[in-house]
């Protein structure tokens, strides 16, 4: 699916129905971001406590907390002065027309331990538990993304989501898309073209390859056209929406539809929760992981979540690959029309049905990707300063993603996953797994430089 999938139609008429769930997702999103901020703060303090501990063990620590705090204040004041001098030089150079001049990096406030924590480290020669906890959570990648998905899934499958919130939690998922669009403020066209070129090669090889494999394997295994067509579209390119687009073309039965959707959701969910850990275990760099999930995970919401879970740099790469991938939805529909309708008719000696290619492209193309391209163009034209980029592609992106991921987590229902089954399930899972394994080998062989977004 291109992000939202089968959900609630956005309209003023539906607003009262969606509002409670949207508010719930916003509250969940805020709580998870608060968790992230706290863990990140504790982790930074943990690193500072390690430095203090080292100094204490080496006998180089400050005599008391006041001296420790003063040292940091002096150091910060000195760095701020240096920054101001560098910034003035940069402005002068820019005014003189020096295009090579680069702005100095802003000075961040130093991490200073609280008095109680400092004294605890100095006296016990051990790091306080809460600071270690933050560091442990970060090392296990338990960021806001993981919290929203895990806790959301837990709530959905234990106490459940009350009816009043359901429409809104579904409507929250597409709020990932404005995040994808404003992330465009970070890219230059050279990044999009470079990563997009390799992304296109990956999409053609793996996404279209999976579609072809399932189509032909399905025929050989005598799986219904309906089920094989849905599975190919869903597993190959774009999850639930692609399956819905192809369903009428392949005369799918309701049972086929539920089997295909179940398989797609099951594989996507397993991928979402395991790929970040597999990526770490295989030592994938951030761009390589981004390229991998962009190819191997089946829908936008899940791949954006997995990439964000890994790192911001992974997200930058995965986003471009995804933009290329969702552009393929019309082609998948055209393929399904050809393979399941036109070809059998021609093979049987009848005249093949005429395909209105332009109509298929214009009705199935996900137009939100134009927003992304506009953002990249605005960045290329110098309309964003570094501060704008940081707010859009850092802060606000997180806000949109947090609300969207809350919707994703609260909609992972085990009952939906149980609907997968039969031969087609096996074909779907084997094909998706094969795609994931081969894609991992391919992206690791190509290497991180090809997928790195410089910004």
């Amino acid at each position: 699916m291109s992000g939202g999938g089968i959900g609630v139609e956005y309209s003023l008429k539906n607003l009262p129905k969606m509002l409670p769930g949207l508010i719930l997702c916003a509250v969940f999103g805020w709580m998870a971001l608060q968790w992230d901020a706290t863990m990140s703060k504790w982790n930074n303090h943990f690193k500072e406590a390690e430095k203090v501990l080292k100094a204490v063990n080496e006998g180089k620590a400050a005599t008391d907390y006041a001296e420790y705090k003063q040292k940091h204040a002096d150091s910060f004041a000195k760095r701020t002065e240096d920054f101001k001098a560098a910034e003035a030089k940069y402005k002068e150079a820019k005014a003189a027309g020096d295009k090579e001049a680069k702005p100095p990096r802003r000075v961040s406030r130093p991490v200073v331990l609280a008095e109680a924590d400092y004294n605890s480290v100095a006296q016990t020669k051990a790091i306080p538990g809460n600071l270690s906890f933050g560091s442990t959570m970060i090392s296990f990648q338990l960021t806001y993304v993981a919290m929203l998905l895990l806790v959301g899934m837990l709530i959905r499958n234990t106490v459940g989501v009350p009816e009043i919130f359901k429409a809104g939690t579904i409507a929250a998922r597409p709020l990932i898309k404005p995040g994808i669009i404003i992330l465009g403020a970070y890219y230059m066209w050279s990044d999009v073209l470079k990563v997009g070129f390799f992304g296109l090669a990956l999409v053609v090889a793996f996404v279209m390859g999976t579609q072809l494999l399932i189509s032909f394997w399905g025929k050989r295994a005598k799986v219904d056209n309906g089920l094989a067509g849905l599975m190919g579209a869903g597993v190959g390119v774009c999850g639930v929406s692609a399956a819905v687009a192809v369903a009428p073309v392949v005369n799918a039965k309701p049972r086929d539809f539920f089997y295909a959707i179940g398989t797609i959701l099951l594989f996507g969910t397993v991928g979402l929760f395991t790929f970040p850990y597999i990526g770490k275990a295989l030592g994938m760099s951030d761009p390589v992981f981004g390229a991998w999930v962009g190819t191997a995970i089946l829908n936008t919401a899940q791949l954006v979540a997995a990439a964000s879970w890994y790192s911001h740099d992974s997200l930058l790469t995965a986003n471009v690959i995804n933009i290329v991938r969702v552009g393929f939805i019309p082609l998948i529909v055209l393929w399904a029309i050809y393979f399941y309708v036109v070809k059998p008719a021609v093979d049987a000696g009848h005249e093949g049905q005429k395909i209105n290619v332009w109509e298929v492209i214009t009705t199935k193309f996900p137009i939100f990707v134009f927003g992304f391209f506009i953002m990249v163009t605005m960045n290329e034209m110098g309309m964003f300063e570094s501060q704008h980029r940081s707010i859009l592609a850092g802060d606000l992106l997180k806000l949109f993603f947090a609300i969207g991921f809350a919707g994703v987590g609260l909609n992972i229902a085990f009952d939906d996953l149980k609907k997968a089954g039969g031969t087609a399930f096996m074909i779907g899972v084997v094909s998706a797994t094969l795609k994931a394994v081969l894609a991992a080998i391919a992206v690791m062989a190509i290497g991180g430089d090809a997928f790195k977004v410089k910004g």
Binding site: S2, G3, G4, I6, G7, V8, E9, Y10, S11, W30, L33, Q34, A37, T38, P174, L175, K177, P178, I181, I182, A185, S241, V244, A245, A247, P248, N251, A252, K253, P254, F257, T363, K364, P366, I367, F368, F370, G371, M375, M378, M383, F384, Q387, H388, S390, I391, L392, G394, D395, L396, K398, L399
Partner: protein, 54 residues
């Protein structure tokens, strides 16, 4: 349900889903445009995000 009516039902479902997705895309484009405008005009500044949390 006959094969014909099943096909028609899916055709209908596909059309309504894509119509809903098209509306969704327009909605997210509008949300993104407003967001960018707020940032470029300085309504949303560098301290906005930090101010939301403890």
């Amino acid at each position: 349900m006959s094969e014909k009516s099943t096909h028609d039902a899916y055709e209908e479902k596909a059309k309504s889903t894509f119509s809903a997705e098209r509306k969704e895309d327009y909605f997210v484009l509008a949300v993104a445009a407003v967001t960018v405008a707020l940032v470029l005009t300085g309504v949303i500044g560098p301290n906005f995000f930090k101010s939301l949390f403890f």
